[in-house]
Amino acid sequence: MDQTPVPVPADEDGALTKLHPNYSHALRVRATLTAIPFLVGALVLEGAFRGEGLFPSGVIAGPVLLIALALIIRIPQTRYNARGYQMGADRLRVVRGLLFRSDTVVPFGRVQHIDVHQGPLDRFFGIATLTLHTAGNHNASVALPGLGEELARAMREDIRAHIRRETQ
């Protein structure tokens, strides 16, 4: 086979690069925003059943609050720790997932287009999501959230430069 040897041998289990520390904060804020409607709903239910005397107060709102606190305080850090990426000379490896681990490698030679996306929350924390689009049906787009804004743009330029080099 006429393969040029890969310049940097891809170290499969090499150290993953951590995401921007602000990403865990962003996750926390997002979890808080998601939890608020549930908390409000629980409080409304609580209020509705107050007069009935069916069960002691706090039976509904208490567990909801506990779960919400766990989701806000514990989970974002664990999720942050579970995520990582590895930028190779010709490929990007994205690892994610707490329970269901997924470990994806996208070769730059198969990237169709690249997105850098920032939501309002991302802008506040100075982070961005880098998305690589491929032609495959599975993994048609591979997103890498929680990169520093500058880094995301730099990575995009790197990948673009690689594609340009290959096509010329």
Partner: protein, 525 residues
């Protein structure tokens, strides 16, 4: 050739017929409803005529305002009466050109020409309708223009000997005669006709006053019939039951045969200068051309029963979509020795003796068997407590069946990799095989659930354009090695060069030499 042209004038008639058809129902509805009292028939006729006239006028205006232009580099279609839309498709982006003739256009000698660009169903460019000759000419033209585009490339391509572009009839690779269709139809056993009957009954229910959901009505009817049957004695009853089963079998098989004849009548697959050409259909005749280099992968499917007789089907995975499925069926019902030449013509290699098949992890097998039977086992306990005695044997039996089926499914769960291709096989009671070129993969993902991580196996998903490719239950170390090997192949060639001749080695030379099952790269990892 570069002037704007109209589609066939006869397409106005088809549009008009469509308008009449949609005008008939409201007219009937008015005629049978209470609106308008005595004069309602007049109103109905008036509405029908008005709808028809408007429909015909719109159809005519649409026809007048729809033009297509064939220029040096692209096809442009401009359409719209009030708002104008212009779409242009460059020749090199057209994947397939397919001709489809539904029964009505076919009577008038018209076809609809569809240019598939891989953008997916609705976004594809379609011209409705052209005369059959015009359609063929247009397809030929697109093909020639494409050849011109790729002239430099194809001159150096040993895989495609420079044949005259006008050559239309290639070698017939696969065809199905009435006898084969009959056999195929018998395996396509389907009870869909009962669903249709159910629908019809529902309709009857709405139109007439017979309430088909009235249990008493059916019960009374059954009792009446039952008492008739009861007088016949046990032998006659058994005979009746057998006759019912036979009847079900006959109806199911007949449905299958009829559907198969309608869909696959005159099935021919030819290999022409630029690609594969498939023609089929009794009333709706379709004619699809698939360029060879657009074939991303193969799927060899089979069925529970037909596998026992060695019947299989072959489909091409490509970016263009077939009618309703994601891949193009090129041989719906064939023996392996008929499939082999098609696979070879597509530039692929069937797994052979040299293919080093790896089985899925036995831990994956055990976990799946336990998980799948757990549901039935859990159901056994309440059934044993609450249901009449003996009934708990049913979920228990199902649990045993689930274990057995899983153990058997493991037989088919295999994967392999060689220097050019990846293979995967899976299935419950019969194997479905997928084959893809290593070079034409787009990403590799290793996915593990909590149990899989604990037990050290993973699912490998490979990004395939136009389809999916997964290997299940691969031991984690093997999965990593596999990914490394595939990545090495992918990164060696950029996407833009995938279709270049260098990236597509000539099938002939690749096939003649017996390749070792594993590449050096893979062994080295």
């Amino acid at each position: 050739m570069s002037d704007p042209r109209n589609t066939a004038p006869l397409s106005v008639i088809i549009g008009a017929l469509g308008a009449i058809r949609s005008a008939v129902l409201p007219a009937i509805a008015i005629a049978f409803s209470g609106i308008g009292g005595e004069g309602r028939y007049l109103v109905a006729i008036g509405v029908g005529v008005a709808a028809t006239v408007i429909g015909v006028a719109i159809s005519y205006a649409n026809w007048r305002r729809l033009t297509y232009t064939i220029s040096e580099t692209d096809i442009r279609v401009e359409s719209g009466v009030l708002s104008r839309a212009a779409r242009s498709v460059p020749f090199e982006r057209i994947q397939d050109v397919s001709l489809e003739a539904k029964p009505l256009p076919r009577l008038l000698g018209l076809v609809s020409v569809k240019f598939e660009t891989g953008a997916g169903g609705a976004d594809d460019l379609a011209l409705e309708y052209l005369t059959k000759g015009e359609g063929e000419a247009l397809r030929q033209l697109v093909r020639e223009r494409r050849e011109d585009e790729a002239a430099a490339a194809s001159a150096a391509d040993p895989a495609l000997p420079a044949r005259p572009a006008a050559e239309d009839e290639g070698d017939v690779l696969f065809a199905m005669g009435p006898g084969r269709l009959l056999t195929f139809g018998l395996f396509e056993f389907s009870l869909a006709v009962f669903a249709v009957l159910g629908g019809v009954l529902q309709y009857v229910d709405n139109v007439t006053s017979v309430d088909i959901w009235d249990v008493d009505l059916w019960y009374g009817w059954l009792k009446e019939q039952g008492s008739t049957v009861a007088t016949l004695g046990p032998y006659a009853q058994a005979l009746g039951a057998v006759a019912g089963l036979v009847g079900l079998l006959v109806v199911g098989s007949a449905t299958g045969v009829v559907r198969t004849f309608l869909r696959d009548w005159g099935f021919t697959l030819t290999r022409s200068a630029r690609g594969f050409r498939r023609q089929r259909g009794l009333f709706t005749r379709t004619d699809v051309v698939m360029p060879v280099h657009r074939v991303q992968g193969l799927v060899i499917g089979t069925g529970l029963l037909r596998y026992r007789f060695g019947w299989r089907s072959l489909s091409f995975v490509s970016l263009a979509q077939d009618a309703e499925s994601e891949s193009h069926v090129v041989a719906p019902f064939a023996q392996m020795d008929e499939i082999a030449p098609i696979v070879r013509a597509a530039g692929f290699r069937l797994p052979g003796d040299a293919t080093a098949w790896r089985r899925a992890s036995t831990r994956h097998r055990s976990d799946k068997a336990v998980l799948d039977s757990a549901f039935f086992l859990a159901a056994t306990i309440p059934v044993a407590i609450f249901a009449p005695p003996g009934l708990f044997l049913i979920p228990l039996g199902l649990a045993v069946l689930a274990v057995g089926a899983n153990l058997y499914a493991w037989e088919f769960r295999r994967h392999a990799i060689d220097d050019r291709q990846v293979y995967a096989s899976h299935g419950f009671l019969s194997p479905t095989q997928s084959i893809a070129t290593r070079l034409k993969l787009h990403s590799v993902e290793i996915r593990q659930g909590p149990l899989a991580r604990l037990r050290g196996y993973a699912t490998v998903h490979l990004g395939l354009a136009g389809g999916s490719f997964a290997m299940h239950g691969v031991p984690i170390a093997e999965a990593r090695a596999l990914r490394a090997a595939v990545m090495e192949t992918i990164t060696a060639t950029d996407f833009s060069r995938l279709d270049a001749p260098a990236a597509n080695p000539a099938p002939d030379q690749a096939f003649s030499s017996a390749q070792p099952g594993f590449s050096e790269n893979f062994l080295a990892t």
